[in-house]
């Protein structure tokens, strides 16, 4: 469906612009798992911009949920599976030094070899998992 491709493209461009803004102003990589993870113990010393970034992200979620609830999709899994997924995402992103944003957007753009390996790995395991599980859970 072309319109969903267009939304994806525009949304992606905005994500790229947001990451670029953070790099221009703060010289930081906009990796969500890193920004959040560094606010958890042991807490990074430079908390201010991290808290502000998270605040902006969460505020948009709050407003978006009120303005256009359909943009927040329903869960496709039962609650126990969602919790397992969250545990794996939290543990894995910290162990692997990044997620879709830090490795996928910023790292690939920087032509980082580590990020290329990480993205190839999580796309593969993500695709295998989603394909095996399908609508089963």
């Amino acid at each position: 469906m072309p319109s969903s491709w267009l939304f994806a493209l525009v949304g992606g461009a905005l994500i790229g612009a947001a990451g670029s803004l953070l790099f221009l102003t703060h010289g930081r990589i906009a990796g969500i798992s890193g920004v959040l993870g560094s606010l958890l113990p042991p807490v990074a010393r430079d908390r201010g911009w991290r808290i502000a970034f998270m605040g902006g992200l969460l505020a948009v979620g709050l407003i978006g949920g009120l303005v256009s609830p359909t943009m927040i999709g329903a869960s496709v899994r039962s609650l126990p599976i969602v919790i397992v997924a969250g545990l794996l995402v939290g543990f894995g992103t910290r162990m692997g030094s990044g997620c879709t944003s830090g490795h996928g957007v910023c790292g690939l753009s920087r032509l980082s070899v580590r990020s290329l390996v990480a993205v190839a790995t999580f796309m593969t395991t993500g695709a295998v998992t989603a394909s095996l599980v399908g609508g089963a859970l």
Binding site: G19, G56, G64, G73, R77, A85
Partner: protein, 172 residues
């Protein structure tokens, strides 16, 4: 010491406002792109069913914009509000990177949420997303407390170096 420290309260305020603006713009992009809809994400990752390729355009659009603006910014000697750029410097592909990314991918394929969209969806009040984020934070804390696996870029340690701070790990 940062540039914020050298230009006082006004810069500190600018730092907060611009970081918040960046986070907000990031959130808007996630909402528009469809990344906050687990069904779309699973539809993209599940290549056996009716494959939905649209999310490939998210990463395509993001990389196109970021790679251009990142390079333009990189011509500067420093960012607006700090004395130096903070870039990851490791280029060794180690087991932690691969195993961590593999575990993350399994969780992503299972729930259809990665960290950013999970946070945005949780902030909207979605109960499953709140449970996802709570579990994600627990997963992060467990990882931090596993000494052999703990991220080695903690923190505030500024290794000596030029204009670019070398922060190991921490791409995302």
């Amino acid at each position: 010491m940062t540039a914020v420290a050298t230009c006082g309260r006004r810069c500190a305020m600018m730092s907060i406002v611009l970081a918040a603006a960046s986070g907000a713009l990031f959130g808007v992009g996630l909402l528009i792109s469809g990344m906050t809809q687990p069904a779309k994400v699973v539809g993209f990752l599940d290549v056996t069913g009716a494959w939905d390729p649209s999310l490939a355009f998210v990463i395509g659009g993001a990389i196109t914009v970021y790679s251009v603006l990142f390079r333009l910014t990189g011509r500067r000697s420093d960012p607006w509000l700090d004395l130096k750029f903070h870039l990851p410097t490791r280029n060794d592909v180690d087991l932690s990177l691969i195993a961590g990314a593999a575990v993350f991918g399994i969780g992503w394929g299972l729930g259809g949420l990665c960290p950013g969209p999970g946070l945005v969806a949780a902030a909207s009040g979605s109960l499953p997303a709140l449970a996802f984020v709570a579990a994600m934070i627990v997963g992060m804390l467990v990882q931090h407390r596993t000494p052999a696996l703990a991220p080695d870029h903690h923190f505030g340690r500024s290794p000596p170096g030029g204009a670019v701070s070398r922060v190991a790990g921490g791409a995302g």
